[in-house]
Amino acid sequence: MQLATSNSQTAMTVLIIDDHPFVLQGCARIFEDAKVARVLQAASLADGYRLYRANKPAVIIVDLSIKAAMLGGLSFVRRLRMHDKKTPVLVLSMHRDPMIVRRALELGVTGFVLKDAPAEEFLTAFARVRQGKAYLSPELASDVVFSEARSTASPFKSLTLRELQTLQLIAEGKPYGVIAQELNVSYKTIANTCSQIKNKLGARSLPELMRIALKHLPGPDGRVE
């Protein structure tokens, strides 16, 4: 089922598993027109495995719902990760539910990008994943972090999204003025929010707050540990 050709022998191989012809063709077009990669197209998980074993692609792009199987992409990743922990996997999906995203990340997916994201975002995601770095669509990231923070074990479950965003920026060491600018609110609001967070988390000082935040919040690259 190898349809793609390559002009350059040094170009890397990308395996794309999706049951929708538009996505397969689209991927082939993006990577091959730009002479970035040789593209292997698989319309089913079985084809995907076969091509993976035969070609050892550099990057695997996989959809989550393939044919009738509910979230079949996830079981593909689980199987793959049992013996291959290195090959970067980028999920290209329409699923935006934080729980599904979280589960994919827990299984060891390297990146997660939405199918209806703009071209630039898809290319950025691919570029990062190719280097083995994590990528998560910014719009998903806040949902995932929030959903993580909401789990009953988290010390942040009583924080509002605004407080959580503020805390994250504090953890990054940004001063109030910058945080206010980034969140598009006034300096006073941020000061208020900060004292609220201290109340809710029982922190007495800003350094203590930073320590709590660094311990429990994901790193600045958007990766949820």
Partner: protein, 477 residues
């Protein structure tokens, strides 16, 4: 008429209409009894009065004549000195009259006879109460007999009517009649109380049946009242209840079908939007990015319009994407059935929290299985969606708490309790239920659940829903 009178009257009428019909009838009958009793009593008093009058009149006239004749006799026999003794002896047998002899010259008075009742047998020795005596004998009747010696009045005998005996007789009779009258009255009240209870029993059950119908309990049926006039009423009532029950069951059935069809339609549309629109957008995006790349190799004057067109296509794609996401969010949770119910609700709450960064959302999930089945899961999802939307729209709350608790019975979940509580302003008392809320109520009702929305006394609103599990359908056989 004064307004105070009117107020009194209306209060009386309100009281009268407020008491049960059994007491109305009893009150009317007792009032009639008392009026007739008083009338009968008055008649017997008037009768006693007339009889006492006739009696005393007769005795007074008799004794007046007798004293006159006797005095003439004694005068002719010149036994004036013994007159007192003679007359006393004569008067010893007198009834109903007392006599006093007054000598004109000296002014001396002698009681000739005063205790006529002493002559009565002891068992009749009974006196009427003073008020009765006063009633029967309004004023004492007095006759004077002048005793003349050769044309000169020497003494005077005053005869006073004393009809005590007669009055006592009337009193005893009246008392006896009154006693029987009271016994009759009590017996009538008791009898009527039970008879009216028996006759009016069906009406009471009609009234409670009507209340049941009003409350939407169409399974109520009335027993045959056993009263000829009321049997058709009960039969018709039962027909009506049966018809209502049928209509309700038809309605439920239709609503169920409506919701099922709607959900099915939504599922298909959502699945298509989810599975097809995304890939199409991706294809468009891939094609435009490839066009863009090719265009960049062209000279600038040829490249610029192509890039403009690409930009336009990307802009339209963006619009489509936003629209698609909005449609999906409204249509159906695509993740339903793919992830656990708890995760599904968590995601819903997360999306609310993302859209409302200043509201704190608290979750309370307990004993939730992976799924209660699609219908219940979807109902829970929609109820929370509607409840939170409502809380955010009306209350401007700072905190919203969402709870879904499954109560287990012998290890199996038996009731699902869910609530959405906020600390906002609470809902205005007259806020009409929107379509979302009524549709939520119907969904809960279809699962035989209960639904309540009320202002929390501590402030804010609390929506509470209980759904039995395993679901019992409301479909009547």
């Amino acid at each position: 008429m004064t307004s105070a009178y009117d107020v009194q009257r209306s209060r009386l009428s309100a009281w009268w209409h407020g008491i049960p019909i059994r007491w109305q009838v009893l009150t009317a009958i007792v009032a009639t009894f008392i009026v007739t009793g008083l009338f009968a009593g008055s008649v017997s008093v008037i009768d006693a009065r007339q009889r006492a009058h006739v009696e005393t009149e007769f005795h007074l006239a008799l004794w007046q004549q007798y004293i006159g004749v006797r005095f003439s006799e004694l005068m002719s026999e010149r036994e004036l000195d013994g007159i007192e003794k003679q007359i006393r002896a004569d008067l010893s047998r007198v009834r109903h009259v007392s006599a006093t002899l007054t000598f004109r010259a000296t002014g001396r008075t002698i009681e000739l006879a005063n205790s006529p009742l002493q002559a009565q047998p002891p068992e009749r020795n009974e006196t009427a109460p003073q008020w009765f005596i006063d009633l029967v004998q309004s004023k004492p009747e007095v006759r004077n007999v002048d005793l003349n010696v050769r044309g000169v009045r020497v003494a005077n005998i005053s005869l006073t009517a004393k009809p005590d005996d007669e009055i006592a007789e009337a009193w005893i009779l009246l008392r006896k009649v009154a006693m029987w009258w009271i016994i009759g009255l009590v017996a009538t009240i008791l009898g009527l109380y039970f008879i009216l209870g028996y006759i009016l029993g069906p009406l009471v059950s009609f009234a409670s049946g009507m209340r049941e119908l009003e409350g939407g309990h169409y399974d109520v049926r009335l027993p045959d009242p056993g009263v000829r006039e009321l049997t058709p009423v009960a039969t018709n009532f039962n027909h009506l209840a049966r018809a209502l029950e049928k209509a309700k069951s038809d309605n439920t059935h239709l609503y169920r079908q409506l919701i099922a069809v709607q959900e099915d339609e939504r599922r298909r549309i959502a699945a298509d939007l989810h599975d097809e629109v995304g890939p199409c957008l991706f294809g468009i995006m891939a094609s435009t990015s490839s066009i863009k790349r090719f265009a960049q190799d062209l000279p600038l004057e040829k490249c610029a319009p192509i890039l403009d067109a690409v930009h336009e296509i990307n802009h339209i794609s963006d619009k489509l994407r936003t629209m698609n996401r909005g449609l999906l969010a409204r249509l159906r949770p695509v993740a339903l059935g793919r992830i656990s119910l708890e995760d599904l609700i968590s995601d819903l709450v997360t999306s609310f929290a993302g859209a409302n960064p200043d509201v704190s959302f608290e979750r309370n999930f307990k004993n939730l299985p992976r799924s209660f089945g699609e219908t219940i899961d979807l109902t829970i999802y929609r109820c929370i969606q509607e409840g939170v939307t409502n809380a955010l729209r009306h209350g401007l709350p700072k905190d919203i708490e969402i709870g879904v608790l499954a109560h287990a019975h012998n290890g199996n979940p038996s009731t699902i309790k869910l609530y959405v509580a906020d600390n906002g302003r609470g809902i205005e008392p007259d806020t009409p239920f929107g379509f979302g809320l009524s549709s939520m109520r119907e969904r809960v009702r279809l699962l035989n659940g209960t639904h309540a929305i009320a202002n929390d006394p501590r402030g804010g609103t609390r929506l509470e829903i209980e759904i039995p599990f395993p679901a019992t359908t409301t479909m009547a056989a």
